[in-house]
Symmetry: C2
Subunit: 406 residues, 2 copies
C-alpha cells in the first residue's frame, strides 16, 4: 500500500475512532501526520482522557484500519469518493475552522470545531470548485409556507446567478433551498451528518438522488455512520465556514440554524437573516439572532441583499487570508463605509461624508475619530481625508483605498 | 393686556405667519422674545428671504394679532387650551429639537426642525406629564391585518404598563395603536398636523373624541389650520422627540413613519422597528430602515423589547441632559455591555467577559481596546478591569460603574 493510500486510510480510521472536529486529533495530525497519529491513539497515547475513552471504546468494537478499508469499499460500490487535504479538489476555506472559537461553550460539540480530516463526496463536481462561490441557506424543519417560499426563491435566485447553494438535507427550509436551486438548473450541495449510503431523512431520498446527479452529496462521516444528534452540530461548522455566508430563513427559538449562523460569525463569514412575522414561532429564533448580533448579522429580504453581502465578504476575508491582523480588520461596516465614501483625493466635510456613506452624523464623527487614531484618516481644515498610503502599496491601495497598507 | 398675554398672543401669531419648526423664527424668539420677534417680522425685518416672503404673504391675508386672538377664542369654544414654554405643563424634552439636524437635507421641512413655539391641547392631562413616560407607535396607513394586530397589541401592552402611547391620527397603524391603549384604559396622545377643530381624517372623528376624553389631542397649529402635506413631516419631529422612543409597525418604501424614526435617531431617541414578512410591501420600509441603521435602529418583536429599549434610553439621555459630551456618550451597546459585565473589583479574562456581556469575542477585543483608549478600562495580566473612577464621584460611580466620571 502506497504512503498516500496509508494516509488516506488513516484519516478515515481517525474519523471513525473520534468524531470529526476533535481538536486534539487535528493537532496531532498537523504535527505528526495521520498515520503516526492513528498509531499513537491506537497505542492508548491520547493526550486527553475523553479522547482516550472514545478511542478505546471504538477500537474495542473493531480494528480501525479494517473498518476504514471496508468503508472505502462501500464508498466505491456507492459511487462516492474520499477527498483529503492532499487532493486537488479539497476546499481550502475549511482550514479557517482551525481558528474558529465559539464563546460560551457549554457543550463539547461547541468546542470541537477543528477542520475536517476528510470528506466523502458523491457527485461529479470537484468539491472545492463547487464550494468556491457558495452560500448556505438553512432554517427550520417545521418551516411555514412563507419560509419555504422564501427559501425556494433564494435557492432559485442564487443558482440563477451561478452561486452554489449549500444546505443540510432536512425537511423544510433545507429541502426548499435545494429544490429552488435544482429548478434553476443550478449547483446545490447537501452536507449530511451521516454516511452517504444512508441519507437522512429517508423521506428526502429522491431529493438526495437528484442532488447527486447535478450537484454534490457530502459528508465527513464514513458510509454506515448513523445520523446521531450531536453530528448535526458538528456538521454545521462545515456549512458555516465552507461557504461565503449563511442565510437563516425561519428559525424557532434555539434552533440549529442559528447555531450554523453563529459559527459563520465566529468563523468570519457573513451571517444573514430573513425576518418574518413577529407572530410566527418559526421566526422567533431569526429575530433573536438579529437582536443578539446587531453589528454582525445582516437582515436580508432577498437574493439581491444576499449577493451584496457575500460580494463584500470576499474583500473582508482577504486581509485574514493574507495573514497578520491589520487595524482595518477591526473596522465595522460604518467605519468601512466612511472610508469608502472619502474622496480619492482631497477632503470632505463630515455632513457630506455621512450622507455619502449612509451613516448618521453622530456615528460618523465617532468612527472618524477612531479612524484618525488608527491613522487611516487625517483631519484637515476642509474636512477629513484619506491618510496617504505607503508608496509601496499604491496599486493595492487603488483597489481598496479604504485600507492603507493592504 | 398683560405682558404674559401679549407673549402668548405673539407665539400664536408667529405660528400663523410661519410654519412651526422654522429655525430663523425660533432663534429670534430665543434672542428677543415672541413680542419683539413678531414686531420685527411684521416690519419686514425677516433675516432670510424665504421667511420674508411667507410672512409678507400671510400678513397680507390678515392682521396676525387679530387672527391669533380669534384662534384663542375658537380654542375656548372648543374646550382646548394653549400651552407655551412659560406653562407648568410644557414638555421640556422638545427643547432637544434645537439640536436636531438631519443629514442629506433636500427639502425645507427636513431642515426646519426647531422646537415648537406653542401647543394647542384638548384633554384633561397636563401635557408634559402625559409625555413623560411615552412611546410613539407609528406606521402605514394602508396597514395589513398583521400590522394592525401588532400595533394594537403594542398600544395595549404599553398602556397596561403605564406608558403613554403617542401617535398621529391616521388610519391603519396610528388608529390601531390608539385603540389598543384605549382598550387597556390607558393614556394615549394624538399629535395632529392641523387645527384641533378640524381633526383629520374625518373618518377618525369618533376616535379623536374618545382620545380627548381620557387622553390628549395635541397640535402646533391654531384652530382652523388645514392638514397640508408638509405639516405631517413637521409634526413628526414632535412625535419623535417628545417621546422616549418611536416604534415603526409596517412602513412601505419611503413612508412617513420611517421619517419619524429617522428624527428619533438624530434626536437621540430610540428608533425601534417591528419586522414583517419580506413578501409584504408594507414591511419594505421597515426592513430598509433596519438595514440602514444596523447599530441605531432596534428590531423589536413585542412590548417587552420596547420597554427594554426605552428603559435603557432613559439612562442614555441622562448624560446629555446633564450637559457636556462625555466619552461614554459615544459608546455603543456592545461597549456598554462589556463595561457593565466587568466586575466591581478585580479583573476578568476576555472569554468570560464576552460571555457575561453576550458579546462575541472578536467584538469584545475590539471594544475593550477602544475602552482602553478612552481610559475607561485598564488591561492587566489577569484580564481587563474598570479604570478607577475619580474619588469625587464614588457614589455616582457605584450606580453606574460603567461610566467613570458620572
Amino acid at each position: 500500500m502506497s504512503a498516500e493510500e496509508e494516509n488516506r486510510l488513516a484519516r478515515v480510521a481517525l474519523t471513525w475512532l473520534a468524531e470529526p472536529g476533535t481538536r486534539a486529533v487535528h493537532r496531532l495530525v498537523e504535527r505528526h501526520g495521520p498515520v503516526a497519529t492513528l498509531d499513537l491513539l491506537l497505542d492508548g497515547g491520547s493526550p486527553d482522557g475523553w479522547l482516550h475513552t472514545t478511542v478505546a471504546a471504538r477500537s474495542a468494537a473493531g480494528d480501525a484500519r479494517a473498518v476504514a478499508a471496508e468503508a472505502l469499499q462501500r464508498a466505491d460500490r456507492l459511487g462516492a469518493r474520499l477527498v483529503t487535504p492532499d487532493d486537488e479538489e479539497w476546499p481550502s476555506p475549511v482550514a479557517d475552522l482551525a481558528t474558529l472559537r465559539l464563546p460560551d461553550v457549554s457543550r463539547r460539540v461547541d468546542a470541537e470545531t477543528a477542520p475536517p480530516l476528510c470528506f466523502w463526496v458523491r457527485g461529479g463536481w470537484p468539491l472545492g470548485e463547487a464550494l468556491d462561490r457558495s452560500v448556505a441557506v438553512v432554517g427550520a424543519r417545521a418551516a411555514t409556507g412563507y419560509g419555504q417560499h422564501v427559501a425556494t426563491e433564494l435557492g432559485y435566485g442564487l443558482a440563477e446567478r451561478d452561486w452554489t447553494v449549500v444546505s443540510g438535507g432536512a425537511f423544510g427550509i433545507d429541502a426548499a433551498a435545494h429544490r429552488g436551486a435544482l429548478t434553476a438548473g443550478g449547483l446545490t450541495v447537501a452536507v449530511l451528518a451521516c454516511g452517504l449510503d444512508r441519507p437522512y431523512p429517508i423521506g428526502n431520498t429522491a431529493l438526495f438522488d437528484r442532488i447527486a446527479e447535478t450537484g454534490l452529496l457530502v459528508s465527513e462521516w464514513p458510509p454506515g455512520a448513523e445520523p446521531l444528534r450531536p453530528r448535526f452540530l458538528i456538521r454545521n461548522r462545515v456549512i458555516a465556514v465552507g461557504t461565503r455566508g449563511t442565510v437563516v430563513v425561519e428559525a424557532s427559538a434555539r434552533s440549529g440554524a442559528t447555531q450554523t449562523a453563529r459559527r459563520a460569525i465566529y468563523g468570519n463569514r457573513v451571517a444573514m437573516v430573513v425576518p418574518g412575522p413577529v407572530t410566527s414561532a418559526m421566526s422567533v429564533g431569526a429575530h433573536e439572532f438579529l437582536r443578539e448580533f446587531p453589528d454582525k448579522a445582516r437582515l436580508v429580504t432577498g437574493v439581491a441583499h444576499v449577493l451584496e453581502e457575500v460580494g463584500r465578504i470576499g474583500a473582508d476575508l482577504a486581509p485574514l487570508a493574507r495573514g497578520p491582523q491589520r487595524p482595518s480588520d477591526a473596522l465595522d461596516d460604518d467605519a468601512r463605509s466612511l472610508l469608502e465614501a472619502l474622496p480619492r483625493r482631497g477632503a470632505m466635510g463630515v455632513d457630506r461624508l455621512s450622507v455619502r456613506a449612509g451613516v448618521g452624523v453622530r456615528t460618523a464623527l465617532r468612527k472618524l475619530s477612531l479612524l484618525e487614531e488608527l491613522s487611516m484618516v487625517v483631519r484637515r481644515d476642509d474636512g477629513y481625508a484619506l491618510a496617504p498610503p505607503p508608496a509601496a502599496s499604491t496599486r493595492a491601495a487603488a483597489q481598496t483605498p479604504a485600507l492603507p497598507g493592504t
